[in-house]
Amino acid sequence: MIRLKTPLGEEVRELNVGDVVYLTGTVVTMRDAGHRRAAELFARGESLPVDLRGLALYHAGPVVRRAGEGWEVVVIGPTTSTRMEIYEAEVIERTGVRMIIGKGGMGARTAEACRKHGAVYAVYPGGAAALQAEQVVRVLGVHWLDLGVPDAMWVLEVKDLGPLTVAIDSKGRNLYEEIYREARRRIDEEIYPRLGIK
């Protein structure tokens, strides 16, 4: 088990696919509509309301409630990352974000951006929303609330956020691609012959 703290730097390049990581510090949420808006801002040469350099970006839409002047996270969990694939390489390149967190894996363009800029993609167990709410210390701020609560950009202070498993490292490996390939091999070479299926 590896413990990391933001701001993250070059130590991220030492992580390997399969490593289990716990993260303390600042994570920023951005999902479907947030990524679309980020792409529009980049196209106009503008930057995001939060400097993501050295931070973690999280594909999540929390359930929140008002707590005095601020906000409190009721539950939070990852959403499927592949929907953000078309945007993520540019986000990594433009912002210097070092860790992307989500679930379900990401594609070749994100993997290439991770390799080039020393970032990783890590996954959190989907559905473990009550546990994760306990790992959020507080809500530091929120932007883009006009996109609705799930799609807004939530800036969260977290303590030992995890278990996060590194699914894409900076060395060119992609865990899900490897697992898919191995699954296909097992089906074709072991399972189907055993069951007499062609």
Binding site: M1, G18, V20, A60, G61, P62, V63, V74, V75, I76, G77, T80, K103, G104, G105, V123, P125, G126, G127, A128, A129, A130, L131, Q132, A133, E134, G162, P163, T165, L175, Y176, I179, Y180, E182, A183, R184, R186, I187, E190, I191, Y192, R194, L195, G196, I197
Partner: protein, 296 residues
């Protein structure tokens, strides 16, 4: 209190139980998966999932932030006296539970794109009614998340493809679903004369407790064969690589047409959330899946 109010209140409690307290059979399967898993990443995930279930139950928080869409499965006795009250309570209880638990408002109108914010909409909450002999009614609620549903599928095979064709269809469905449905999954398989019959049976197969085999020994054997094959694929929890990709496989079937062999696959995520209660002829309620609710 009038029977209708009692029923509505009981249904709100039932929905809350489904959202926040994993049924015992699913939780036991999860704990067992954690115990037998040897891949470190999958094991650490399973540990977190087990812990999550405990926290959710203790704090009455939703197990998953995707509290799904509300599906009711109702078995009503032909002599049950409160069918009308039950019918009108389902929607009201859904609205109230959305506010109280809270559930994430997930229903979106297909054409206007509007979300009414209370988990209702055209034909939602969904309810399937079955009439049986007797004086009582039985209600099961299932909260079905989006991730496991996007990989559901059905197809009519040529009868010559036979049981092997069905096995292949199921295995390929699991392969293509990958980590998306949040494995370990419960696999519901329906077989029958039409895709709609097969799909209906597959959906209902998810209601059967994990570990319970089909009453027909041949079907039971097929369930075991498929479970072993699916776990041999090696996806493990959340596709991290590991031993347990599915908690169980539940198959049900209807007699087919000479020309068709329809098959359907519906997956329940690791947090398959369902709760059941029985309504007596005097309007009193007994929770069957979550008996701890009866003591309060």
């Amino acid at each position: 209190m009038e029977v209708k109010e009692t029923l509505r209140e009981a249904l709100v409690k039932l929905i809350e139980a489904a959202a926040t307290s994993l049924p015992r059979d699913v939780e036991e399967a999860l704990v067992r998966a954690y115990e037998i898993e040897s891949s470190p990443a999958a094991k650490s995930f399973l540990k977190a999932m087990v812990e999550n279930v405990k926290i959710a139950r203790k704090k009455k928080l939703p197990i998953c932030q995707d509290t799904g869409v509300v599906l009711f499965y109702v078995k009503v006795g032909d002599k049950f006296p409160f069918t009308g009250a039950l019918l009108s309570s389902l929607r009201e209880a859904t609205v109230e539970a959305t506010r109280r638990v809270p559930l994430r408002p997930n229903t979106i109108d297909v054409f206007s794109g509007k979300n009414p914010g209370d988990n209702t909409g055209r034909n939602m909450p969904w309810a399937e009614w079955e009439v049986v002999e007797g004086e009582e009614a039985e209600v099961t609620v299932m909260l079905k998340g989006g991730g496991s549903e996007v990989v559901g599928r059905a197809k009519t095979l040529v009868p010559a493809e036979g049981i092997k064709g069905i096995m292949k269809y199921v295995i390929e469905a699991i392969y293509e679903a990958g980590p998306q449905p949040c494995p370990p999954v419960i696999v519901g398989v329906g077989i029958g004369p039409t895709v709609s019959v097969a799909m209906k049976l597959a959906s209902k197969a998810l209601l059967r407790p994990v570990g319970q085999r089909h009453e027909d020994p041949e079907v039971a054997k097929l369930e075991e064969t498929l479970l072993r094959a699916i776990n041999d694929i090696g996806y493990g929890a959340h596709g991290m690589g590991g031993k347990v990709t599915a908690f169980d496989v539940h198959i049900d079937y209807a007699a087919r047409h000479p020309a068709s062999l329809s098959v359907a696959v519906v997956l329940g995520c690791w947090a398959t959330r369902r709760a059941s209660m029985r309504i007596k002829k005097d309007g009193k309620v007994e929770y069957t899946s979550h008996p701890e609710l009866n003591e309060v």
